[in-house]
């Protein structure tokens, strides 16, 4: 389903925070590579509803297959990995994250830093809004013969976290997940350590929200989609709750504050963006195989993405949620329940309308990806509803996560150009 990127592709902003993130990643992958020697335990898990703080409290190293897949996409390896999985019999219609991840495993499981990834000691399946997650780990279980622990997170059908849903998740954490982690590590659950990680998470979350909200300004100092996928990297993956992540977000916040002070717009891989002409809200994940080219189609036209839902798949912090060290398991449960794709369509429409309003956007653009029905199902209806409520024009493009065969640059550019010109023309009125 969804995931966040790590800046293996050229970073958009060679700031100190970016360098720090790179160093954090390098270190993480080095620890993973050394795991067979050090005996560190490794858990494979998913981004939405990840229990990083809990894993860290056991000194477990997380691996996120979605992130491996998108990294492979950005490194132009996904084509061969997908082909490998298809050779094994997976059809063209299967989620390309799944095939890319399986293909990478089949080709030796070499990660983005060139080191081999260790096998999992446990597959921790946090089931949040993506049915494919279950099938994915079934396949990985066959490959690795590793034990699987499933956390079932109920869908937020009525748009809010109910006490019974929260209690249901907490009970699973107590009765299933924590015992499984205790089993593989041989250590007892340490709630004080968990609280410490949660406290650091909340600190980082506060800074991240401030960074994302900076896009309310004109010009926006950041790109809240293409740029922000880098910003959410640490917090959505293996680093939430670490001192490193807290330091990264503090630094990032300071850098963005400085951009605001100087009245600067976003920095893109091609340099600082020109004058801001369009402000867009974007729904749906980006395409990773042509990420830079895709971004360029926006920034070259002066279009900045001021807010996006994709950057909320690993937590909707901008809606006020913070990890709460005083209610450690409850807060983890609420976090899992609140992930963006675990939300009902009406709630997602509300979020989008709020973004349109708060970020003073000119329109909503949907990037509908073939792979991910958790995102794509209902997107056109959402678009119509947002158009109706806000009176702002919607645009619709289609691509895929990591299958380069499903990204047609000419077609996507054609639609983006037409969409931006349509906004322009409507702004100017009939005399355009």
């Amino acid at each position: 389903m969804t995931a966040t990127p790590l800046p293996a592709a050229p970073a958009p902003q060679k700031d100190r925070s970016q360098e720090r993130q790179k160093a954090m990643l390098a270190e993480h992958f080095a620890r993973l590579a050394a795991a067979p020697e050090t005996g560190a335990k490794v858990v494979y898990t998913f981004v939405p509803g990840n229990l990083t703080e809990l894993l860290l409290s056991f000194d477990i190293l997380p691996v996120l297959p979605e992130i491996n897949a998108l990294q492979s996409g950005m490194r132009q390896r996904s084509r061969e990995f997908i082909r490998e999985a298809e050779k094994r019999g997976h059809s063209e219609d299967v989620c390309t994250y799944v095939k890319c991840d399986l293909g990478m495993k089949l080709k030796g499981n070499v990660g983005p830093t060139g080191d081999r990834l260790p096998n999992p000691d446990l597959l921790l399946l946090s089931y949040t809004g993506c049915f494919t997650f279950m099938k994915w780990f079934e396949l990985l279980r066959e490959e690795y013969r590793a034990p699987t622990c499933m956390l079932h997170v109920p869908y937020q059908a009525d748009g809010k976290v109910t006490p019974s849903a929260r209690d249901y998740v907490v009970r699973q954490l107590r009765e299933e997940v924590i015992p499984a982690l205790e089993r593989i590590t041989g250590r007892a659950y340490d709630e004080d350590r968990l609280r410490e990680h949660l406290r650091r998470s909340a600190e980082a979350e506060e800074d991240l929200v401030r960074v994302l909200r900076s896009a309310r300004r004109r010009p926006s100092p950041i790109d809240g989609y293409f740029g922000a996928v880098y910003y959410v990297g640490p917090i959505f993956s293996s680093f939430r709750g670490t001192a490193d992540a807290a330091a990264y977000y503090r630094e990032l916040r300071e850098e963005v504050d400085e951009r605001v002070r100087l009245g600067l717009g976003p920095v893109t891989p091609d340099g600082p963006m020109g004058p801001e002409r369009f402000r867009l809200v974007v729904e749906g994940p980006p395409n990773w195989t042509s990420f830079r080219e895709f971004w360029r189609m926006f920034h070259a036209e002066g279009a900045v993405c001021v807010a996006s839902t994709y950057t909320k798949v690993g937590g909707t912090y901008d809606e006020g949620f913070r990890h709460d060290p005083d209610r450690p398991l409850e807060t983890l449960a609420e976090y899992c329940l609140g992930c963006y794709t675990n939300r009902s369509l009406p709630t997602r429409v509300d979020v989008l309308c709020r973004y349109m309003d708060e970020y003073e956007a000119d329109g909503l653009l949907v990037n509908s990806v073939k792979s991910c029905n958790s995102f794509s199902a209902g997107q056109l209806l959402m678009l119509r509803e947002v158009e109706r409520r806000t009176g702002k024009p919607g645009g619709f493009i289609e691509s895929d996560l990591v299958d380069p065969r499903y990204f047609s640059a000419a077609n996507v550019k054609n639609r983006i150009d037409a969409y931006l010109q349509m906004i322009e023309q409507r702004r100017r009125g009939a005399g355009a």
């Binding site: 000419a410 037409a418 349509m422």
Partner: protein
């Protein structure tokens, strides 16, 4: 006079429209989009400007009808003169291109003969060229002007001539065709300038000979006409659109998306347009416009060109038919074969499979047309549905079977919705572009 040009560089054809100061269409031009977009663009624009000069001639003629009885050029004579002017002009263009073809074929000869040892093609080629030249006057001065591009017209004649002239070994059919194929690419890349003024004298002379113009007035008519067609046309602004728009030699702000141009073009042609369906060579667009012709929403096919014009092109090739013959044939179907795939790549396979099952060509074609329109209906639904009035544009709007299928499916899905199709629908994008060019200049002048 000042004029405004819109150019639509499509995947199959390149279209140009010229507007006058008031926004009325002065001329239209079309050519096949060859590998060299710059040339395609220049040729289409030149054709449109030539056509604009014909319009200027048409506008000037009534003035010759006034005055003393012996000066009267009857309305019928005016029409005849215009027609002759165009015929003479097309013939002259054709002859220039035949000369270019002759030069290029001759230049290619040594290379082609090397590929066919023992072949001596020179005399046969000279004869072929002579044959084409000899046939030209009847083709252009007789009745209807040929509606095909030079390339297609010359190719079919050449193929016929080559078949007759071919002798295995000495002048193989493949060698004769090969020479043409190599040369025609070069001919298409060559720009030539031929003003309408050059044929005014011939046209007037023809009509004097036919007794339509009194001999004594010939000089007067010729001078008036020559003056009208030679009026300077100053292109005040151009806007480019279409698949190849990024390649147009225009500054960025002079390039507009096809979606916007089709929306505006459809609105100009039919001011009550609310929904536009455009099925072009390799994409299908469903566009919603407001009462001013401003686009409010759109959907396009994704990267796959299934069910677009090109698909019909492949089907026509597969059946050895011209693409314009498909629609009429489909209309004679007795039943519709259900076709589920409109994949362009598999078009041939699908067709052969159906034929192998013993199904009639007409019935298969009817099913194919319905399948194409079903895809378009899905895009229309996604773009916000079909609202009154619906304007159907693009090359496929010329296909009667596609139109019939669209009418039926729109009625089933949305009830009675007035549907507009312009005979000039292929120029919709270029027309929208030309209007954008005009508005840009007017807005600039007002600012």
């Amino acid at each position: 006079m000042r004029c405004f040009v819109g150019i639509d560089l499509g995947s199959t054809t390149t279209k140009a429209v010229v507007l006058d100061e008031e926004g009325a269409v002065l001329g239209r031009g079309i050519t096949n989009s060859r590998s060299d977009y710059d040339v395609a663009c220049a040729v289409a624009q030149r054709e449109a400007l030539d056509d604009a000069r014909l319009t200027l001639a048409r506008r000037a003629l009534p003035a010759l009808g006034r005055g003393a009885p012996d000066e009267v050029l009857t309305p019928a004579a005016q029409e005849a003169l215009l027609r002759r002017l165009e015929q003479r002009f097309r013939l002259a263009q054709h002859l220039v291109q035949l000369d270019l073809l002759g030069a290029e074929v001759t230049a290619e000869l040594p290379a082609v003969e090397r590929l066919f040892p023992g072949a001596r093609l020179g005399p046969a080629i000279a004869q072929l060229l002579e044959g084409l030249r000899a046939e030209a006057p009847a083709q252009f001065l007789g009745g209807e002007l040929p509606r095909t591009f030079f390339r297609d017209l010359a190719a079919s004649q050449w193929a016929r001539g080559a078949q007759a002239a071919a002798v295995p070994g000495e002048r193989p059919y493949e060698a004769l065709l090969g020479a043409f194929d190599k040369a025609i690419l070069k001919v298409e890349g060559r720009l030539f300038d031929l003003g309408l003024a050059a044929v005014v004298g011939q046209a007037v002379g023809d009509l004097v000979e036919a007794g339509e113009i009194p001999g004594g007035r010939a000089g007067h008519v010729e001078r008036a006409l020559a003056g009208a067609v030679a009026a300077p046309l100053e292109v005040a602004a151009s806007v480019g659109t279409g698949y190849g728009r990024a390649r147009l030699p225009f500054p960025k702000e002079r390039i507009r998306s096809e979606i916007l141009c089709h929306g505006l073009g459809a609105h100009i042609m039919f001011p009550r347009t609310a929904t536009v369906l455009d099925i072009g060579g390799q994409d299908t667009k469903a566009i919603q416009v407001d009462p001013d012709g401003i686009v409010t929403g759109f959907q396009m096919n994704d990267r796959c060109a299934a069910g677009c014009g090109r698909y019909l092109g492949y089907i026509a090739d597969e059946m050895n038919l011209g693409v314009h013959e498909l629609g009429p044939l489909a209309l004679s179907a007795r039943k519709q074969v259900r076709i589920s795939s409109t994949c362009t790549v598999f078009a041939g396979a699908e067709l052969r499979e159906r034929l192998a099952l013993g199904q009639r060509r007409e019935d298969i074609l009817a099913g194919l047309h319905r399948a194409i329109i079903l895809r378009a209906m899905s895009l229309l639904a996604r773009s916000g549905g079909v609202k009154a009035e619906l304007t159907f544009t693009g090359g496929v709007a010329n296909n009667p079977a596609a139109v019939a299928a669209l009418r039926q499916l729109v009625r089933e899905g949305y009830g009675e919705v007035p549907m507009n199709i312009s005979p000039d629908s292929i120029y919709t994008g270029a027309l929208g572009g030309a209007h954008f060019a005009r508005r840009d200049v007017l807005a600039g002048a007002a600012a």
